[in-house]
């Protein structure tokens, strides 16, 4: 319910929010998250604690707003951000620089740990070399992949000065986001509605597969892969549409789902409960997509009063694998969609889910933490 959400106005527009990963086999709830800001004269990377331990309730539930642990200045807009491990965060900048920041938990400070200046850059007509915004970063320790407005793909290894692999002009349009498909393969989305698979072992500077939207080439802004079934991929586009792709079949999306009224900035499968998916948008909404009622007779624990709940059927092509996302059984082909922010007006630029916790940040300079997503 809404009262489980705590908000904090932070006097900077938030472009990214990320939970710090939990140590393996940890039983506690996620607590620490990082945020990055954009469009400020002075942009910052900040580390927050979601729980206000001083105000822990009787039953151990947490109240109060997130509080700042430490922050550090960042050059340029934070375009993307991801934790490399418990202590290090990789940050993509609008200046084209990629930086690894280290969070020193003993004395609560942040420091720049490693930096690739102008990892993304333009080679202009006047042969001058200017930085190009790095739009996306994904890491799988120790490997870091970055993409940018320059259409370049970089593969870095943490603490290694030179790029392991660079594909110049990999894409003639802007690459908006990147994610790992498998250890050596990545997925990218671009501004002409294409989803591409790249095999980084191959020396060819070309994608191994190209998928694209039919009709108008609506730009794609975000991509995420199903955590267990790697062939299922979700992307979000400029028109707010959610596309589900089965990369084993065809070159077009399996289903197109009407969602937001403006750019979908992020899409995330729930990492441990992938029947749930979360999307956020420029139109100021954040949607929770729930297909869990599909496959089994699980109780619908997400149906909460007072929210707009919609049922939507999606067109699916023949699939043999039973997955809620690719299901084509018309009688069960339903998913429950809940808008988690009823009255928001400005863009929700980023969200992250871990366990039962959701964190998101907006252009209205506020961060929100919902610690009881499935309550």
């Amino acid at each position: 319910a809404m009262e489980d959400v705590s908000a904090k106005f932070v006097s900077q527009k938030i472009s990214r929010t990320r939970w710090r990963p939990l140590p393996a086999a940890a039983l506690q709830l996620p607590d620490v998250f990082a945020t990055g800001s954009w469009d400020n004269e002075d942009n910052r990377i900040s580390i927050w604690s979601a729980s206000d331990l001083g105000n822990a309730g009787l039953n151990g539930e947490y109240h109060g707003e997130p509080h700042l642990l430490c922050d550090i200045q960042h050059n340029g807009d934070v375009m993307d951000m991801q934790f490399l491990d418990q202590e290090r965060i990789v940050v993509a900048s609008s200046t084209g620089t990629v930086t690894i920041f280290r969070h020193h938990q003993n004395n609560q400070t942040l420091s720049a740990n490693y930096r690739w200046e102008k990892a993304h850059y333009h080679v202009g007509q006047d042969t001058s070399c200017g930085g190009a915004a790095c739009t996306g970063v994904v890491c799988s320790n120790p490997e870091i992949v970055t993409v940018g407005e320059d259409g370049r793909i970089n593969l870095f290894r943490a603490d290694q000065k030179d790029a392991v692999r660079t594909i110049d002009n990999a894409d003639s349009s802007t690459l908006h986001a990147v994610t790992f498909l498998r250890t050596t393969e990545i997925l990218t989305v671009n501004s002409i509605g294409q989803l591409k698979i790249w095999d980084l072992r191959q020396q060819r500077n070309e994608p191994s597969q190209i998928f694209s939207l039919a009709g108008d080439r609506v730009p794609l802004h975000c991509v995420d892969r199903h955590p267990n079934q790697q062939h299922i991929v979700a992307t979000g586009g400029q028109d707010g549409m959610l596309s589900i792709w089965d990369i084993r079949h065809g070159t077009m999306p399996v289903s197109l789902l009407n969602a937001h009224e403006a750019e979908m900035w992020e899409v995330h499968f729930h990492p441990s409960d992938p029947d749930h998916l979360f999307t956020c948008s420029e139109d100021g909404s954040l949607w929770h997509w729930d297909t869990s009622t599909n496959v089994s007779e699980k109780p619908s624990f997400l149906h909460q009063g007072g929210r707009s709940t919609a049922y939507l059927s999606h067109s699916a092509i023949n699939q043999s694998v039973v997955s809620a996302w690719l299901s084509n059984d018309p009688t069960k082909d339903r998913m429950e969609i809940t808008n988690l922010i009823p009255n928001q007006t400005l863009s929700v630029n980023s969200l992250d889910v871990l366990g039962s916790c959701l964190v998101y940040g907006t252009d209205a300079e506020a961060i929100y933490v919902n610690r009881q997503l499935f309550a």
Binding site: F9, S11, Q12, K13, W38, D39, N40, E41, D77, M79, S94, H122, V123, G124, Q125, G130, A132, A133, T135, E149, D150, G151, N169, D171, S172, S173, T174, S191, I192, Q194, I210, S212, A214, G215, D216, R217, P219, Q238, A262, E263, E282, N343, T345, L346, S347, D363, A364, E365, A366
Partner: protein, 679 residues
């Protein structure tokens, strides 16, 4: 109006001639060499930014930001400077961004709520909105206070403290406006609301109250009677009686006297919030109680205790007795409310002005003159709403307060009659000013958009002017600006943003990106320009760049003829590459005969036909070959630059080779077709 002059630090009109340029959110002042002989040297530089706007100490709008633009006048010394004078300094205070963002949400909620409800529930809704605004001010005040306490920098501390007092004054004014205008409390409840207002805002005595109450034996504390008086003056009867009971139990001899006073305080009739009693009933009860107090005072019941006697006088509304406690009230408006409580508990809204004026006069007693805050509150008590807004505009250092308050009052339908001379009404004028300020901030501009949206008269024009000045540092930001424009059908701005982005991409040799920007704007001319760049690159390098884009143009190919040609021409190459020669040949020919290809490109196309003509298989039919020949002749004959062909050896050779190849192909095809037909 007289506006205090603003001095731009560092700009010296006695040394240099100055010139000005007015922008929507800032003024540029620069030093110039022009007209030095003029008689304006002695004039003092004074700026009064943005119409009747002045400053009340705290936030001087003048802020010199940039300097050192190199002077180019030959022979003259040093550099000249450009000063940027911004109008809304408070926009730049970090902590206030919380106020701007949070109140934006409330503002939007209020615009949406429009006309849904009527009558009482509408009023309750508006009062709630007003309370929400105030709670944001208070939250901001607390943050600012926290910041002031935690900083070690004395300058910053001073700034924060100033902001705390400004915010606190804003809340005080807003609260009074809420009672008088938004809620429009009627006689009876009006007094209760005013009492709450005084209790909430007169906090100077709070520490004294705390000190006494927390002492071991309050009744022995030297400030004991002061605290009792504070409670009585604020009408906090229960607390006063509680304290008095402690004193009573310590003085059994005067127990009776305490009992009587306690009884009087207990019996004091107060207006009720519900409709349980009529005003006449209250007045009757009150009259009765008043007479009882009078009797006790006159028969000397309290004569032995001056403290209790003075309290009884206060209960009787004795002005002198109340004024004696001036230090405990600290402000004239506290005095006013106390006076009303004990003399005119059923005061009607329209009577407030008389009591307010006389209370201020009595309280200040000619010793000090009223300050701006006093004048604003006085205007409110006089129900001069426009005066309140005007005074606030002059005194406060930001537009936030007046813009939001005026908008709320306008929603209460209180400002309709008032139109300003320049056409838009006051609400809109103030919202425009506030939103313009937001737009001058490099980060808060997004909030400004929604405010402009709710200015029916000039909002659109302002938005159009401002949105074009947003620097488009990344594509992501450009997309956000673009979305704003597209949602509002601002076609001109959409085109200009896309063009800017396309130009940027072009400069960076990102032809693919450039093309997708011009496709987004449906800018055919620019798409043509980019297509030409692609074709030029092809002619120079002999291969296409950005195949991933050109192969996937889809329906956007139809945007411009040249783009169509580019897509089709690439298709020809693909077909050729896949050795689908007849299809390739047909397409190539169509590109010319259907005039899809620009004439300048025909020679290239004909040259592309050469390898097809040289294939072992005959590909072009006789008819197609004739057509190719006609194309070649059209090109050479119809070309106005005929000279060029004759001068250019390479071109001439090409034409000759083509003619030869065409002739041979024709020969082969005649033989072949003849054979086929014959057999």
């Amino acid at each position: 109006d007289t506006v205090p002059p603003q001095v731009v630090p560092g700009a010296d009109p006695s040394a240099r001639q100055l010139c000005f340029a007015w922008g929507p959110a800032e003024v540029l002042v620069c030093e110039t060499l022009f007209g030095r002989a003029g008689g304006s040297r002695s004039r003092c530089l004074s700026l009064s930014p943005s119409r009747s706007r002045g400053e009340g100490g705290a936030g001087a709008a003048a802020r010199a930001l940039t300097d050192s633009v190199a002077g180019t006048g030959e022979g003259t010394q040093s550099s000249s400077r450009v000063f940027v004078v911004r109008r809304d300094q408070d926009i730049y205070i970090q902590t206030l961004r919380k106020l701007f963002n949070e109140s934006h949400g409330i503002f939007m909620g209020l615009q949406r709520s429009e006309e849904e409800l009527t009558g009482k529930s509408r009023k309750a809704q508006l009062v709630q909105v007003s309370k929400n605004y105030r709670s944001v001010i208070r939250a901001c005040m607390e943050d600012m206070h926290q910041a002031a306490v935690s900083t070690r920098d004395p300058v910053l501390q001073g700034q924060y403290s100033t902001q705390v007092s400004i915010l606190s004054a804003m809340e005080l004014i807003w609260n009074l406006c809420e009672i008088l205008f938004v809620e429009a409390a009627a006689a009876g409840p009006l007094l209760l609301r005013l009492l709450d207002w005084v209790r909430l805002h007169v906090c100077d005595v709070d520490s004294m109250v705390r000190e006494v109450l927390s002492s071991e034996n309050p009744s022995k504390h030297k400030l004991f009677w002061n605290v009792v008086d504070v409670f009585v003056l604020q009408g906090r009867m229960d607390e006063a009686r509680h304290l008095l009971s402690k004193e009573a139990s310590a003085n059994p001899t005067s127990m009776n006297m305490y009992k009587i006073l306690d009884d009087l305080m207990k019996k004091m009739p107060v207006p009720s919030l519900g409709n349980t009693q009529t005003l006449t009933e209250l007045e009757l009860k009150w009259q009765h109680w008043h007479e009882e107090c009078q009797r006790y005072l006159q028969d000397g019941t309290f004569a032995s205790n001056p403290h209790m006697e003075s309290i009884c006088k206060i209960l009787l509304g004795d002005e002198d007795a109340i004024l004696e406690k001036k230090e405990l009230m600290t402000t004239w408006y506290h005095f006013l409310v106390t006076r009303l409580l004990y003399s005119h508990p059923t005061v009607k809204p329209m009577e407030l002005r008389f009591y307010a004026q006389s209370s201020m006069d009595l309280f200040l007693g000619g010793e000090s003159s009223p300050e701006p805050l006093d004048m604003i509150l006085m205007a409110a008590f006089e129900f001069e709403m426009h005066q309140v807004i005007k005074e606030c505009s002059i005194v406060l250092s930001n537009w936030w307060f007046v813009a939001h308050l005026t908008d709320l009052l306008d929603h209460c339908k209180l400002l309709q009659s008032h139109n300003l001379y320049f056409g838009s009404n006051m609400r809109e004028f103030l919202l425009l000013e506030y939103a313009s300020g937001l737009f001058s901030h490099h980060s808060l501009w997004q909030l400004g958009v929604d405010y402009f949206d709710h200015c029916p008269e000039y909002g659109r024009v302002y938005l159009e002017l401002h949105i074009e000045r947003i620097p488009l540092s990344t594509e992501q930001k450009a997309l956000k600006v673009l979305r704003i424009c597209e949602q509002r059908q601002m076609h001109e701005q959409v085109r200009s943003i896309c063009k800017i982005m396309a130009m940027k991409a072009l400069r960076n040799n990102r032809l693919g990106s450039a093309l997708s920007w011009s496709i987004r704007a449906k800018d055919a001319a620019f798409a043509t320009l980019i297509s030409d760049r692609f074709l030029k690159d092809y002619c120079e390098r002999g291969c296409f760049s950005d195949l991933d884009l050109i192969d996937n143009l889809g329906p956007s190919m139809l945007l411009s003829d040249r783009l169509t040609f580019l897509g089709k021409y690439r298709e020809f190459h693909r077909l050729y590459g896949e050795k689908r020669f007849p299809e390739a040949a047909r397409l190539l020919l169509t590109l010319m005969t259907a005039h899809i290809a620009p004439c300048s490109f025909w020679m290239t196309l004909l040259t592309d036909a050469l390898p097809l003509l040289e294939q072992k298989e005959v590909i072009f039919s006789a008819e197609q070959t004739y057509e190719l020949m006609r194309c070649l002749e059209d090109l050479t004959a119809g070309n106005p630059d005929k000279q060029k062909f004759q001068d250019d050896d390479v071109e001439t050779t090409k034409v000759e080779m083509l003619r030869l190849a065409l002739a041979r192909n024709l020969a082969r095809v005649i033989v072949k077709e003849g054979t086929v037909e014959g057999s």
